[in-house]
Each structure stands twice: as structure tokens, then as C-alpha cells.
Amino acid sequence: MTATSASLALAGNRSVLRRVRDWLGNPWGRPRFLVLVTWAYIVWSIVPVLIAIQFSFNAGRSLTAWQGLSLTRWYWGDPVDSVWADPTLQAALLQSLKLAGLDMLIATPLGVLLALGLARWRGYLAEASNLLMLFPLVTPEIVMGVSLSLVFLYLFDFIEPSTTAQVLGHVTFSLSYVVVIVRGRLFSIGRQYEEAAADLGATPWETLWLVLLPLLLPAILSSLMIVFAISIDDFVISQWLSCGADCDTIPIRIYSATRAAPLPSINALAAIMVYFTIGALLIAYFLFRFLTRGERAAGKAGRSVVADMGGFDM
């Protein structure tokens, strides 16, 4: 211990390691360490997707070697192998969109009503039902797929594996997501608006239609979005309930193509899936902002009252 190091210690000088830790921690602003970790995670998860989309613009037929930029070859340019030209790829795209659309339109209203019913039902049976609602969320997809196909094989054998069976399968597991989302919002809204509406003479139906549903709007839009994303992404259940080539969805087609000789048109197909998902997200977001435009106080940038109830933080 020399005189200089002793005086340094007295001067309160921190070690290098300590200074790095303090800088990362940053008690006065954004914690830099958390920001770093978050960005690392985002980059790690998005970069593979970006690479896949990048190769959908590949000029050549390789999925791994970049052979120059071609914006349209695999989308509609190539007369044989592009998405536009290949009927099987188009059929897969249409089937995915059809399933996702039907799933959205069926699962969301059913889920909202189910959530309302469960939230208002008190008692032991209600607790049990609440728990049962979570089962599809935690069940492994392969189990869901196999059990659904068994149900359609033995129990409801009048339903062949077909688009109908696929829709029913999708709706079954999407319901849980809708219920969980809507129930959470209902809980944070509380009973006060319903009571106020009833107090002012609204029948239960009027209360539902005029007060609850407008207030649940963010949750409903979130549900639509989530259901769309889950449905378009689903592989296991769609495959188990598939009738063959006619019922193939994009994930199924990508999977079978990858085992044969894949072309960048597969990347294009996957990229189209991503564009649709982002599109759905944007539509839901701007629709929400448009519908709640009156609720933002002047000066309170961006947050409406309904959003403050935790609507759009998914």
C-alpha cells in the first residue's frame, strides 16, 4: 500500500469495475444495463426473421448464398416458381387467411361473452370454470392436435378433417386467449360503470351494449390481433385436422417444402405472412386511436382514459 494509492482511496476514487457498474445502472435516468439487455434480445429474435425476409428478395435460387437483389422474382416475377405463379403456394396463403379470418370472427365474440359470464359468476363452480379456461393455454400443442383429431374421428365423426374441422380446432384454443385478455380488462374496469348504467335505468342488455363493450374496445381489438397472429402461425393443429393439399396452410407448406428442395419463394411466402401480421397490428392500433380520439385530454400526449385502464399494453 503506497502513499499514492492510499490517498486515491481517501479521495473516493472508484475501481474501474465499480465505475462500469454505476454507469450501467444509471440511477438518474434510463437504466443502461436493462436497455442493453433489451436491445440484445430484440436483435437476437428479429435478425433471423430479417434474414429470411432478405432472402425472399434473392436474385438466385439459393436460400443461403446471396446472389443479388431481385424485388419481385419470388413474389410474382418468376413465371413458374413465384408465389403468384404457383397455385399450391397461393392456396396455402388463402387457406391461412381464411382460417385466421374465421377464427377472429368466431372466437372473439364468443370469448368476450364467455369472459363476461365468467366474471359475473360467483361461487365454487365459477372458480373451477376459470381454471378450466386456462387449460388450452398450458396444454402442449401436439396434445391438443392429437386429441382434437381423435374427437373428430370418434365423437363428432360427421365432421371430416377439413377446413371446418380446422376452424373448430383454432377457435377452441383461441378462446382461452380472448377470455384471459378480456377478463383482465373487465377486472381493471370494475363494476362502477355497470352500476351507474343500471342506476340510470339501463337494462342489463343496454348496459352491455352501450357501456361495457365500448369500454372493452381495446381488449377486443387486442384479442382480434392475438387471435389472428396465433391462427396464422399455427402448425400442429392445422396439420392434424388437415384434409390434404387443399387444407394446407402456409406453415404446413413451408414445412413440407423445406424437406424437399426449398426455393426462396418459401421465404417470400413466409415474408407475406409477416407483412399480414404487421398489417393487422397496424390496423388494430390505428383503429383504436381513431375510435378513442375524444378521450385524450389536451396536453396528455397519446393516452386515452380507456387505454389508461390497461387496454393496449399487451
Partner: protein, 370 residues
């Protein structure tokens, strides 16, 4: 002008599981009265109000409006309206649509609807605010919209659940006066729930003091303050100066003879016929301080423990020779403080102001009540 509604609550009981929030209460509110239910949190006042509104179903008992039994009627068909503690204004509707909500449910036709909404907003002094959304209003303004929304339907009874709780003190005082004036102007029954005794005393025609699901006393503000029926009521309203005494029944003049340690006192008020261990109370402003050595009945020697300057009054805390601490209050007339800290005095409890109480066992919450 709408004639007020008469509300009667008969043997009302409400149980949540094994716990009874309301233990069988009976209340009668004649039409046109400003009636308050006052008590600490958990005393059952809000539960009672919600049962009158219809949001809770009583476990036992009946609720009558103008003689008609409405215990089984759902809330949307009862002719009462509620103003909630957090206003519950519909955030997705503007002020006009909020106020018009009830009228639209009654299918009132357009021109009359516009007229009545305009009248209601004028009544609460919010004309011109029709297009605003609730989030753009201050707390006081939201409160008034909630009032207008309820009053526009011309209910027989208006129920108010601690409506001023979320406002700052100055706004609260202003709205207290406005509410009272409004009630007198409109002429309907107001049933008001609060835990703030000053609020209840200023606004009500009658107060029901409640504790632990039971009604301790129902009387006009003056009676409830000056002649509390039980220990709880005395302790909850204002400062009570409770003293543990032994009572020995009434004497020839009807005064109760009570014994405070070694001192014999006469109490002219309260349950003068009671005997045994009980409590006596006297309000601070009625206690007289006399120089040490004064004689006469109801005088106990003591020392000034603390002298506090309150601005408009002096508060002198006296420690009696028997050990109790008595708070006294003197108006500030511009003179100096009558006694300094440490001075020896004789405390005179005028028999006329000393009250013997019945102890129902109810306890006021132990917060600082200075």
C-alpha cells in the same frame, strides 16, 4: 319541483359469508329531508346505501319507497339515483351524453331531452360544457356532472356515497354549501353517506350515527352533538372528554350522582337513572376554568398541562388531580391566554353540561382527534 320520496328501512340485515355487515337496522326518512349516515369505515353505511340503490340484495329485511316494497326490484327499475364516490362518469361519452343517458333509456323525445339536459347543467352551473369529455374536467366539475346526471331524471330520492371524498378541502367546503342549497331548491330526499362528521353536521337535517353495522343514534345535528346517546356517538363527534365514573342513580332533582375517584359530581344530562361503572362526557367549550381555590359543586382541582393557540380559539389541556386529561376551548376575544402552562386551577363542570352516557361497547377508531 319534485316532491321528495319517503324511504323506510325495516330490519335490514346483510351478511357477506359468515360476517354481518349490517345487523338489522331500522331507519325512516321522510320526504324532502337531507339525511346523513355517519360513521367510521366498515360501519355498514355504504352497504346500507347500496342496498337502497339495489346493487346489493339484503339477507333479511325490507326497503320501502313511498310505502312500496322495492326489495325485490332490480336497480334499473327503482326510482332512486346514485352519485358515486368516484363519479363513474362514462369515459367514452361527453358531458351531454352522460347527462342524457338516463333520459335516453326512458325514450324521452329529442326536444324535451335537450331542454331537460340544459336545465340540469344550468342547475349545477356547467352550461357550455356539453361537448367536453370527463377526462377534460376537474374533480369538482366531474362531481357536478355526476349530480346533473342523477338529478335530470327527477328521482324521488338521491343517494350520495361520500361524493366529496376525492376533492381538496376548499372545494369540499364550497360544494357542501352548494349541495345543501341544491337539496333545498329541488326539494327531494337526499341520503348522504360520509365519515366526515363536520360534513354531516353542516349539511344534514338528521344524522344516523352508525358503528359496526348498527345505528347508535338518529337525531338532528344539534342533538347528536350536544346530547349524544352513547359513548361511541360522544367520542365520534367532536372532542368528548370521556371520564370513567361510577354512577349511583338519580337524586331528587333528577341529576345523576357520579363519583370520579374521590370527587362527587352531579350530571344533569344523559341517562341520569343509570348506576354502575359508566362514562361521563363534557364538551370542551362548556368546561369552565376558575382560579385555584374556588369552591362549589362539580369542581375538581387540576394543573394546566398545555396551552395551544389555535388562531380563533385557545385550547387549554388540563390535567386533573385524579389523572384525567381534559381539553377545554376558549374563544379568542383578543385578550391574553387566561392561564399559563403549569398554573393551578379549579375545573368546573357545570351540571347542565355534564352528560352520563350509556356504553354500548362500540369503540370509535383510535385516531388523533385534537
Amino acid at each position: 319541483m319534485v316532491r321528495g320520496g319517503e324511504v323506510q328501512v325495516v330490519d335490514l340485515v346483510k351478511r357477506f359469508g359468515p360476517v354481518a355487515a349490517v345487523h338489522g337496522i331500522n331507519l325512516h326518512m321522510p320526504g324532502g329531508e337531507f339525511f346523513s349516515m355517519l360513521g367510521p369505515s366498515g360501519c355498514g353505511k355504504t352497504t346500507t346505501l347500496r342496498m337502497i340503490a339495489g346493487f346489493e340484495q339484503p339477507s333479511e329485511g325490507k326497503i320501502l319507497l313511498d310505502g312500496e316494497d322495492m326489495t325485490g326490484t332490480p336497480p334499473h327499475r327503482r326510482h332512486v339515483n346514485t352519485v358515486f364516490q368516484n363519479y363513474a362518469l362514462f369515459p367514452h361519452l361527453n358531458v351531454f351524453d352522460n347527462v342524457a343517458f338516463g333520459l335516453r333509456r326512458q325514450r324521452v323525445e329529442r326536444s324535451e331531452l335537450q331542454r331537460r339536459v340544459g336545465e340540469a347543467l344550468a342547475l349545477v352551473q356547467l352550461t357550455g360544457f356539453e361537448k367536453r369529455k370527463p377526462v377534460q374536467l376537474s374533480g369538482g366539475q366531474q362531481q357536478r356532472v355526476a349530480l346533473a346526471r342523477a338529478l335530470v331524471l327527477k328521482p324521488a330520492v338521491l343517494l350520495l356515497d361520500e361524493p366529496l371524498g376525492a376533492l381538496d378541502a376548499k372545494l369540499r367546503k364550497q360544494l357542501q354549501i352548494e349541495l345543501k342549497a341544491l337539496q333545498q331548491q329541488v326539494g327531494i330526499t337526499f341520503i348522504y353517506v360520509t365519515h366526515d362528521q363536520e360534513e354531516a353536521l353542516t349539511m344534514s337535517d338528521r344524522i344516523a350515527v352508525m358503528s359496526n353495522g348498527r345505528v347508535e343514534q338518529v337525531a338532528a345535528p344539534r342533538q347528536v352533538y350536544e346530547e349524544p346517546a352513547t359513548v361511541f356517538v360522544a367520542d365520534f363527534l367532536g372532542v368528548s372528554n370521556l371520564m370513567q365514573v361510577t354512577a349511583r342513580g338519580a337524586d331528587a332533582q333528577g341529576h345523576c350522582r357520579i363519583r370520579l375517584e374521590d370527587f362527587e359530581l352531579q350530571a344533569a344530562r344523559g341517562d341520569t337513572a343509570v348506576s354502575g361503572d359508566t362514562k361521563a362526557t363534557i364538551r370542551p367549550e362548556r368546561v369552565r376554568l376558575e382560579p385555584h381555590g374556588s369552591t362549589g359543586e362539580n369542581r375538581v382541582p387540576g394543573t394546566i398541562e398545555r396551552a395551544v393557540y389555535l388562531g380563533n380559539a385557545f385550547q387549554l389541556i388540563v390535567r386533573l388531580c385524579t389523572g384525567q386529561s381534559i381539553q377545554t376551548l376558549f374563544q379568542n376575544t383578543g385578550d391574553e391566554m387566561p392561564y399559563a402552562q403549569g398554573a393551578a386551577v379549579h375545573v368546573h363542570f357545570p351540571a347542565d353540561a355534564l352528560r352520563v352516557l350509556r356504553d354500548t361497547g362500540a369503540r370509535a377508531p383510535t385516531t388523533d382527534k385534537s
